[in-house]
């Protein structure tokens, strides 16, 4: 699914998300980088219509009416709401809403079992650890297999092994289903490993948007240059 944003304005905290034009390519993985408060999450939530925009237009495959495309978009929020039921029930909830029968649901779940050790599936989801909760939230949106997947720091609470498996899962979803994936991350290396395109945001604006290789080897914006240099030193 292609996303085209035009004249987007959204006031948040003390800043204004202000995006003149932005085209998120269909079938690609796009990483959004930026410092805290730069508008990454607000942008993602505006795309998912969780936050109402103050001005501007967002087109989903050329369609502006969100109601017509809402069932083609899934978002994993930074602090996902996990329901007071088993982890498995949380994961299959969306599939039940879509009217899938038990056999199809089981078949769908099986596809995702190779990525994680899911021995917590029958535990109450509210009693899970941070990493397990993140896996439930991610699987809950992944199993829906919608054309647009928006992920807000999906690996923030995961250990290294789970992070790598999550990245494999994201790549596989993108390859197998041609899903457009937009991922907000603070991890430069994750963006390097996962993304086809990288967006860098600062104070509510997109200050760099380019192919991954170009972004890391030849950034145009001075702030991005500084940011990459600093992370090279820290490495």
């Amino acid at each position: 699914m292609n996303i085209y944003i035009e004249g987007l304005l959204k006031r948040y905290e003390k800043t204004v998300l202000n995006i003149e034009k932005l085209n998120i390519e269909s079938g690609k993985v796009t990483a959004i980088l930026g410092l805290n408060g730069s508008g990454k999450t607000t942008l993602l939530e505006c795309i998912a219509n969780i936050k109402n925009k103050d001005e501007g237009k967002i087109y989903y495959d050329g369609i502006e009416d969100f109601e017509r495309v809402k069932n083609k978009i899934a978002i994993m929020q930074q602090r996902p709401y996990i329901f007071n039921m088993s982890a498995l029930d949380n994961i299959v909830l969306g599939l039940k809403y879509e009217g899938l029968d038990e056999k199809s649901i089981n078949k769908r779940i099986e596809k995702y079992k190779e990525y994680y050790n899911l021995d917590f599936l029958h535990k109450n989801a509210k009693k899970l650890s941070g990493g397990e909760t993140a896996k439930v939230a991610l699987l809950r949106v992944a199993v829906l297999e919608r054309p647009l997947l928006l992920l807000d720091e999906p690996t923030a609470n995961m250990d290294i092994e789970s992070t790598l498996m999550t990245e494999k899962l994201i790549k596989d979803i993108n390859k197998k289903n041609k899903t457009t994936i937009v991922i907000v991350t603070h991890d430069l290396f994750q963006a390097q490993r996962l993304a086809d395109l990288v967006i860098f945001m600062d104070k509510g604006k997109v200050i760099e948007y380019s192919l991954k290789d170009e972004f890391f080897s030849n950034p145009k914006n001075d702030l991005v240059k500084k940011f990459l240099k600093r992370s090279d030193k820290n490495d």
Partner: protein, 216 residues
């Protein structure tokens, strides 16, 4: 026998009033929790201030409403259990409503957005919020019932404390105390206390154990 009748009347009036008030609190609560409109905060503050309404004042309002010259006077409802139920319903509705809205408000929008994002409809959202906020709802209902069963001013005014008809535990205690029959008053007082404990224990058990929510 008289005491049994008093206990039954008390439970009938207070449980019915709590049930009706809870039903309307839930319906209005869902509307307030899921819709954003200009005067929302003002309405919630208004209902909040009604929680402190003195029962005798509510009794007076219902009395005026149902008395011979009042708008509903022709139905002869004054000094009946109906009048007592009406007074208690109006008294406990703001308590249940504001407690419910305040407690659920922090999660309602998140539940709604998550449910709709997953493809759920309004009925799915209602099912989810009732399950997710069962504890908060039961807490509000329990508070409403506690207020109803222990209330004396309003039921005395609109019920009339008629023996065998509208006499409830609280009005019986007030009457027997004024007559100097402390033995009867204390006995019914103990029964009232036990019933309050039992009903609250049942409602508490209905809430179930709350799992430790993991926040990050």
């Amino acid at each position: 026998m008289e005491i049994l009748k008093i206990v039954i009347t008390s439970l009938y009036v207070s449980l019915t009033a709590t049930f009706i008030a809870s039903f309307f609190a839930l319906v209005f609560g869902m509307f307030f929790l899921t819709k954003q409109f200009k005067l929302k905060d003002l309405f919630i503050k208004l209902f909040d201030s009604f929680t402190a309404m003195p029962p005798v004042l509510m009794g007076l309002l219902v009395f005026l409403l149902l008395s011979k010259n009042g708008p509903l006077g022709k139905y002869n409802l004054l000094f009946t259990p109906f009048a007592m139920i009406l007074a208690q319903t109006l008294l406990v509705f703001p308590i249940i409503f504001t407690l419910m809205v305040k407690q659920i408000d922090k999660n309602a929008l998140r539940i709604q957005k998550t449910c709709y994002m997953l493809g759920g409809r309004y009925k799915d959202f209602l099912t989810l919020i009732l399950k997710e906020c069962k504890n908060e709802i039961m807490t509000a209902v329990t508070s409403g019932f506690s207020r109803a069963i222990s209330e004396v001013g309003a039921v005395m005014m609109v019920g009339g404390n008629i023996k065998g008809y509208t006499r409830v535990m609280t009005t019986f205690i007030a009457l027997e105390t004024s007559k100097g029959n402390f033995k009867g008053a204390v006995l019914v007082g103990v029964i009232l206390l036990c019933i309050s404990f039992i009903v609250n224990a049942i409602l508490y058990n209905l809430k179930g154990r709350e799992p430790n929510e993991y926040l990050y």
